[in-house]
Homo-oligomer: 342 residues x 2
Amino acid sequence: MLTNRQLQILQAIVDDFIMFAQPVGSRQISKKQEITFSPATIRNEMADLEELGFLEKTHTSSGRVPSEKGYRFYVDHLLNPQGINSRDIQQIQSIFNDRLVEVEHIIRKSANILSELTSYTSILLGPDVQRHRVKRFSIVPLSSDTAVAIIVTNNGHVENRMFSLPPNFTASDLEKMVNILNERLVGVSLEDIHKKLEAEVLTVLQQHVRSADDFIHALVTATMHNSESKIFYGGKTNMFNQPEFHDLNKVRMILDLMETTSQVQSLFQPNESGIHIRIGSENKQLEMENCSVITTTYSIGEDQQGAIAIIGPTRMDYKRVVALLDVIRMDLTQAFTKNRSD
Amino acid sequence: MLTNRQLQILQAIVDDFIMFAQPVGSRQISKKQEITFSPATIRNEMADLEELGFLEKTHTSSGRVPSEKGYRFYVDHLLNPQGINSRDIQQIQSIFNDRLVEVEHIIRKSANILSELTSYTSILLGPDVQRHRVKRFSIVPLSSDTAVAIIVTNNGHVENRMFSLPPNFTASDLEKMVNILNERLVGVSLEDIHKKLEAEVLTVLQQHVRSADDFIHALVTATMHNSESKIFYGGKTNMFNQPEFHDLNKVRMILDLMETTSQVQSLFQPNESGIHIRIGSENKQLEMENCSVITTTYSIGEDQQGAIAIIGPTRMDYKRVVALLDVIRMDLTQAFTKNRSD
DNA sequence: GTTAGCACTCAACTAAGAGGAGTGCTAATA
DNA sequence: TATTAGCACTCCTCTTAGTTGAGTGCTAAC
């Protein structure tokens, strides 16, 4: 168990390092207002804290730097979210100024403002389209041999895909098909469409329409292909500002990671509520060993969830980011819940 | 006018520098097979070429580096596109293997393969949606007060937007509206929709439907907002590989530029056919002073155009890139023209 | 006209030394 | 007994000086 003085010193060191990105020495700490003891005392405590694994040195005679364990302790026990002011709040509010109806636009804007306010990179996951349910299905023929299939979901999302019409496919064939599909598919979630199509609809269609197989196939790929929720980025190059990323390779690895959908998705915790912090190697990805990721979720309507991640150096301003995320997740949830129904 | 020998030496220097990114000395050149004269002779010629502005030195006793004027001359007079082999061709062909109907997918794939084959960054502009014409207009109500407007274009593109329904808007109101809009808008290009709506349709609608104004407004913003053609990127971080971009600031500037739609669009020449090369400061953007941009266009159907840009260092492998672009533009044009009609 | 020879230049690397921030330990102090 | 002043020691960082080598420009010989 740490003594009160050790807690105070640990906090001071982490705060200082987060601010200046330089190893902190005993003298530096002793000059702070809240610290009342001498550098020598601090040095003793620092040696203890280092033995306990909370601090590290970059070389024998350097100041101390928080270890991952140190950050973890700081985040778990010493963090009181704060550091946002009324101007920040105002800027967050500006996301909702436009009275926009579209979820996508609001999320995009949130990503930008979050990255601006934190000066880190933000990633926002939109609603999981796969869980939307079909509201209306339609087909618009473009020429004698091509057409567009369109699915509108209960949340107003539109999924569409071009496909080839079988030769000699008539307008009445098309109409029959659309009717059958609407009868059977309305209310089905996009993730269940394949099963439904293959299990029930295919046989029915085959009785009424020629060469339904090809068509069903096109439809299946249409809904499978967009299987992940949309991803929005803010401040992709913000990490260039951080002194710890003045190394091209690190930056590159992270940028590359952000281009890979699957990698990005794995940054997010399974849907738990609250704010989650992963520090350095707590992230599974090797690329992220110098990064911390703070994630949280927000609600979209009753049964949908979106997610937010902020990526920064382990020396991240946890206080501020946590406070900001808390505000923005509440605002997003509120904006997407009220005045919105099926 | 340059002598034959000067041409030969200039070409050898540019080729060598493109390959190794190191200032080239007279000895280095003299060792090449096609060069039959001594280093001393070459030094004399190099001094002349420098006086003429085709070469530069990094310091008094360094080897020579092509100047922008040197590259320009090389590109204009010494370039015979080549350097692609059957494996490259094969890889390009693989873009079209899937028998995909969708333009977007093919373009996306092209961007990736181009960046892979060149090891530079590729940017592809899809068709200019604004010039598509309306094929079908429809509205799908989601709840008592929201609905989605959907426009399908002649090329199979789908544009959609949510909007609020005025209170007490009935199903028959909606039907009337959709009918009127289809009557008036089918065949109109997206860029002309606003005028058409405001000039003709509004008055007609006002006679038949209550609170048409709000609705029209939503529709106008829906079509205005997606005013640019879609942009697809390949190998965004490829430039990290180039030794001239081992400087964080340069990389950052270019990455930031690529996040700005308007900047990206201004990289493209006004629609001229053929392949265009802009070297270093020939680009208007300051961020691009160390880059060359090679652009070309391809056809999508009869009246649409897409564009391709490759961004690399001024020390770009022009030969190879030009050859690759030539192949891919022809293949894209072919793929998008045959079997495709209104 | 071409080339060998040579003095000269300058970036890049290495080595040595000075300065300074910060530590750990010891002994004095409250 | 807990705290602190004092001091020797460590090691990073910056500067300076010297060395090496690739490459040039010029001159004189071929």
